[in-house]
C-alpha cells in the first residue's frame, strides 16, 4: 500500500496544483549551510513514503539524529506524483533537498543522470560501517543503479512480491495447501472463482492489477520463460514463450473470469481485502492492511513455473543531489541507512533488508520476502527508457489482451513499438 504504485486515486490536489507548481517553480528549500554557532549540518531528505511503512523510515532518521547531534536530517514526505513534478526542475537548477527518492521506479534515475543533477557515490563505497557496502546489495539492484560504471543511488528499500492467499476461502474450497507450481495456481484460481461459469463472479480466484500498480504480469511471463526486453533493449515480448504465457493468463481473465479486468493496484488490494479474491501477488507493504481487514492471511512464495522459481523485486532509489553543500555528510548518512544495524531494525517492520548478509537474522514476515530475493528480478531493469516502455506499451498491451485482442498480434505490435522507443535495431 505504501510505497505508491498502489495508491488509490492520484490526489486531485496534485493535479490541480500543477499550474501552481509550474508558476511558482520549486518551493523546496535549498540546503542550508552549516550554522556558525555549534556547527550543526542540516540535511534535507525528500521521500515518497506516505504509506503505513512511513514510521519505519522515520525511525531510521530519528535514530541517526539522536546519534549525530552535528548532522541533523529532516525527512520531508510527499506523494510520489508531487516529487515527480518538482524534483527534476529543482535539482536541475541547483536547488532542492540534499537527498531524495526521486520515484518508486528505479528507471527514474536515468533522467536525473541525464540532467547532471546527481552525485556519483563511488567515493562512499567500501567496507565497514562508515562506508556504503555495495557488495552486500543484491546484484540486480547494484547493476540497476550503476550507469557507465558509476554508482548513482543506493536502495532506500527493497521489496519482493509473494503470493498472498486467503486461508478461509481455500479451506472452503477444499484446497489444503497454497499452490507450488503455476499449473496448480491456474487450477486453484479456476476452482476458487465462484459461482462457476459466471461472467460476473462474486468471488474471484486471483486479484490481478494491470495499471497504476506494482507490476504483476511480468512475473506471469517470466514463470513461463518469457520476458519483455533483453539486456540490449531489444523486445522479447513477442517470443513464443512470452506469447504463450500472456495467452494463458489473458484467457484465464477473459474466458474464465478468474480476475476482474482493468484493476488498478488499489482496486486489486480492495478486492482481496474485502474477501472477494483468494489470491493476490503483492509486496510487503500490503500485509498489515490485510490482517487489519480481518483476513486469515497466508503468505507463500510465488509458485514456480516451467522456468523455475522467479518473482519481481522492486527497489526505491535514494540519491544525493549534485548541488548539495554537504555531500560528505549525506554519504555518511547513506552508509548508515544501508548498514547492518539500521537494516536489521528496519526489517522488523516487515520489509526485507536491502542487504543479503542478514538473512539468518531476519524474523517475521520479512523472512518470506528475504527468502524470495535470490530469485527476484527487477522490471525492465536498467533500461533508460523503461518508464516510457511501461506507460506507452506494456500497460496498454495487457489492457488489450485482457479485453479480447489477439495476443500474438498485439505482442508483435508491442515489440515494434518497444524497439522504436529503445532504439534497438533488431
Amino acid at each position: 500500500m505504501s510505497y505508491a504504485p498502489r495508491r488509490a486515486l492520484p490526489s486531485a490536489a496534485i493535479a490541480l496544483s500543477l499550474t501552481a507548481l509550474a508558476a511558482c517553480g520549486s518551493s523546496s528549500s535549498s540546503s542550508t549551510p552549516a550554522s556558525d554557532n555549534g556547527k550543526v549540518v542540516k540535511l534535507q531528505m525528500l521521500t515518497g513514503f506516505t504509506g503505513p511503512d512511513r514510521p519505519s523510515y522515520q525511525a531510521l532518521v530519528d535514530n541517526w539524529n539522536s546519534a549525530h547531534p552535528n548532522i541533523q536530517v529532516t525527512m520531508d514526505v510527499q506523494p510520489w506524483a508531487a516529487i515527480g513534478q518538482k524534483l527534476p526542475q529543482s535539482w536541475a537548477t541547483g536547488q532542492g533537498p540534499d537527498l531524495a527518492t526521486p520515484s518508486f521506479d528505479p528507471n527514474a534515475i536515468f533522467q536525473y543522470i541525464k540532467t547532471n543533477s546527481v552525485e556519483p557515490l563511488d567515493s562512499a563505497v567500501g567496507t565497514g560501517d562508515a562506508k556504503v557496502e555495495v557488495s552486500t546489495f543484491p546484484k540486480t539492484v547494484t547493476s540497476a543503479f550503476t550507469v557507465d560504471g558509476k554508482l548513482y543511488a543506493v536502495p532506500a528499500n527493497l521489496a519482493t512480491l509473494v503470493l498472498y492467499y486467503n486461508k478461509a476461502l481455500l479451506q472452503k474450497a477444499g484446497v489444503t495447501a497454497p499452490p507450488a507450481t503455476v499449473d496448480e495456481l491456474v487450477t486453484d484460481a479456476k476452482k476458487l472463482t465462484l459461482p462457476a461459469g459466471s461472467s460476473t463472479p462474486t468471488q474471484y480466484g486471483i486479484s490481478l492489477a494491470d495499471h497504476e500498480t506494482i507490476q504483476m504480469w511480468p512475473i506471469l511471463q517470466w514463470l513461463g520463460g518469457g520476458d519483455i526486453v533483453d539486456a540490449k533493449g531489444c523486445a522479447t515480448i513477442d517470443s513464443p514463450q512470452s506469447v504463450a504465457a500472456l495467452k494463458t493468463w489473458a484467457d484465464l481473465v477473459q474466458k474464465d473470469h478468474v480476475s476482474p479486468v482493468g484493476q488498478t493496484g488499489a482496486d486489486a488490494d480492495t478486492l482481496f481485502s474485502s474477501k472477494k479474491a483468494a489470491f493476490e501477488i503483492n509486496g510487503p507493504w500490503a500485509a498489515a492492511g490485510y490482517r487489519k481487514a480481518g483476513i486469515d492471511l497466508g503468505i507463500a512464495p510465488v509458485p514456480s513455473g516451467s522456468a523455475g522459481p522467479v518473482t519481481l523485486a522492486s527497489t526505491v532509489p535514494l540519491m544525493v543531489a549534485k548541488s548539495s553543500k554537504h555531500k560528505a555528510e549525506a554519504e555518511q548518512f547513506l552508509a548508515y541507512w544501508t548498514g547492518k544495524t539500521a537494516q536489521l531494525a528496519f526489517s522488523k517492520g516487515g520489509f526485507p533488508p536491502v542487504r543479503t548478509d542478514l538473512a539468518s537474522q531476519v524474523t517475521g514476515d520479512a523472512k518470506e520476502f528475504a527468502a524470495a530475493l535470490p530469485n527476484a528480478r527487477l522490471y525492465l531493469a536498467g533500461l533508460p527508457t523503461g518508464s516510457k516502455v511501461d506507460s506507452d506499451v506494456y500497460v496498454p498491451l495487457i489492457g488489450k489482451i485482457t479485453r479480447g485482442s489477439d495476443v500474438a498480434g498485439a505482442a508483435s505490435a508491442a515489440a515494434k513499438q518497444i524497439n522504436g522507443i529503445t532504439g534497438c535495431k533488431a
Binding site: A12, T200, H211, P260, R403
Partner: protein, 303 residues
C-alpha cells in the same frame, strides 16, 4: 507602461499621444501580471514547440516544425483528438438540450421548481475532480451503488469504466450531469426575460405550448443558446480532470483526451517541446471551432 505611470503630469506642450491618464495607473498591475504570467508563457511555449526540449537539459536542439510533423504521424494523438471531439460533441449537445428542456419546464417560479433548480445547479458548483472521484466510486463494479442498482434494474453488471465500449459514453454522461445546471440557469434567465406579450399574442393566434416554444421561445433564445454552446464546447475540448481522475485515460486510451496526452508527454516524460506542440494544435482547434460556431449561429439570425 511604467514610463507612463511614473512621469509627473506633463505640461500643456506634451504630445497628445503621451498624455497622462490616471486610468493607466489602475490597469498597470493587471497588464504587468497578464504579460508575465499569460503572454510570456504563451510565447515561450510557441518557442519551445519548435525545439527538442527536455526538462533540465542544458541544450535544446532546434527542430523547426519537426514536433508538428511527428504529431501528424502519432496515432495516439489522433486517438486523443477523436476522444476529445466525441466528448465535446456529446456533452455540449447533451447540456444544451437538457438545459433547454428543463428551463422550459421550470419556467414558472413555484416552491417546487426553485428546489429543483437548486438541485440541478449543484453539480456545477462542485469541482470536476471531486465529481470524477465520486462517480468513480459510484461506478465501481465491486462496491459501487450504480452496479447494485443496475443489477436490480435488469441491466446486468456492466463494468462501466473498464469496458472499451462503455467508458467514454459513461464519461460523457457524467460530463452532462456536471454541466447541464449551468446551461439551464442561463437559459432560464433568458426565458424569463422574454416579454409576456409575445406569448399572449401567440396564444391569441391559437398557438399551443409546443408551438409557443418553437416560434417564440427558441428564436428569442438564439443568442443565449449560442453562448452556452460555445462555452460548453470550449470546456469540452479542454477535457482533462474528469478522465484523469475517473479512468486515467483508460481502458487502453479509450478515454485519453488531448490535454491528458499533453500532460503525459510534458510532465511525465518531460518532452516539453512535443507537449508544447500539442498545446498549440489544441489552441488552433479550439479557436477554429469557436469561430465557426459564432459564424454559423449568428448568420441564422432572423430579424
Amino acid at each position: 507602461m511604467t514610463a507612463l505611470t511614473t512621469g509627473t503630469s506633463p505640461g500643456p506642450r506634451a504630445r497628445r499621444r503621451l498624455r497622462w491618464n490616471p486610468a493607466y495607473a489602475f490597469v498597470a498591475p493587471s497588464v504587468v501580471l497578464i504579460a508575465v504570467f499569460i503572454v510570456e508563457p504563451i510565447v515561450q511555449s510557441g518557442w519551445m514547440s519548435l525545439h527538442d526540449w527536455s526538462m533540465g537539459e542544458a541544450s535544446h536542439r532546434m527542430r523547426g516544425f519537426g514536433n508538428y510533423a511527428d504529431l501528424l504521424h502519432d496515432s495516439r494523438f489522433w486517438n486523443a483528438l477523436k476522444v476529445t471531439c466525441l466528448y465535446t460533441a456529446g456533452t455540449a449537445a447533451g447540456q444544451v438540450a437538457l438545459g433547454l428542456l428543463l428551463a422550459e419546464a421550470l419556467r414558472r417560479t413555484t416552491w417546487f421548481s426553485s428546489v429543483l433548480r437548486t438541485a440541478f445547479f449543484f453539480p456545477f458548483i462542485a469541482s470536476m475532480a471531486v465529481v470524477g472521484i465520486v462517480w468513480r466510486f459510484l461506478l465501481d463494479p465491486q462496491v459501487g451503488l450504480v452496479d447494485a442498482w443496475s443489477g436490480h434494474l435488469g441491466l446486468g453488471h456492466p463494468n462501466w469504466l473498464q469496458s472499451t465500449s462503455l467508458a467514454l459514453p459513461t464519461m460523457i454522461g457524467v460530463g452532462i450531469w456536471k454541466g447541464f445546471g449551468f446551461t439551464m440557469i442561463v437559459l432560464l434567465a433568458a426565458i424569463q426575460a422574454i416579454p409576456t406579450y409575445l406569448y399572449e399574442a401567440a396564444r391569441l393566434d391559437g398557438a399551443g405550448r409546443v408551438a409557443q416554444f418553437r416560434h417564440v421561445t427558441l428564436p428569442t433564445l438564439r443568442p443565449s443558446v449560442l453562448f452556452v454552446t460555445v462555452i460548453a464546447t470550449i470546456q469540452g475540448l479542454q477535457l482533462f480532470d474528469l478522465s484523469y481522475v475517473m479512468t486515467g485515460g483508460g481502458p487502453v486510451f479509450h478515454t485519453e483526451s488531448v490535454v491528458q496526452y499533453l500532460y503525459q508527454r510534458g510532465f511525465v516524460d518531460f518532452s516539453l517541446g512535443y507537449a508544447s506542440a500539442i498545446a498549440w494544435v489544441l489552441f488552433v482547434v479550439i479557436l477554429a471551432v469557436a469561430l465557426v460556431q459564432l459564424r454559423v449561429l449568428r448568420y441564422r439570425d432572423v430579424d
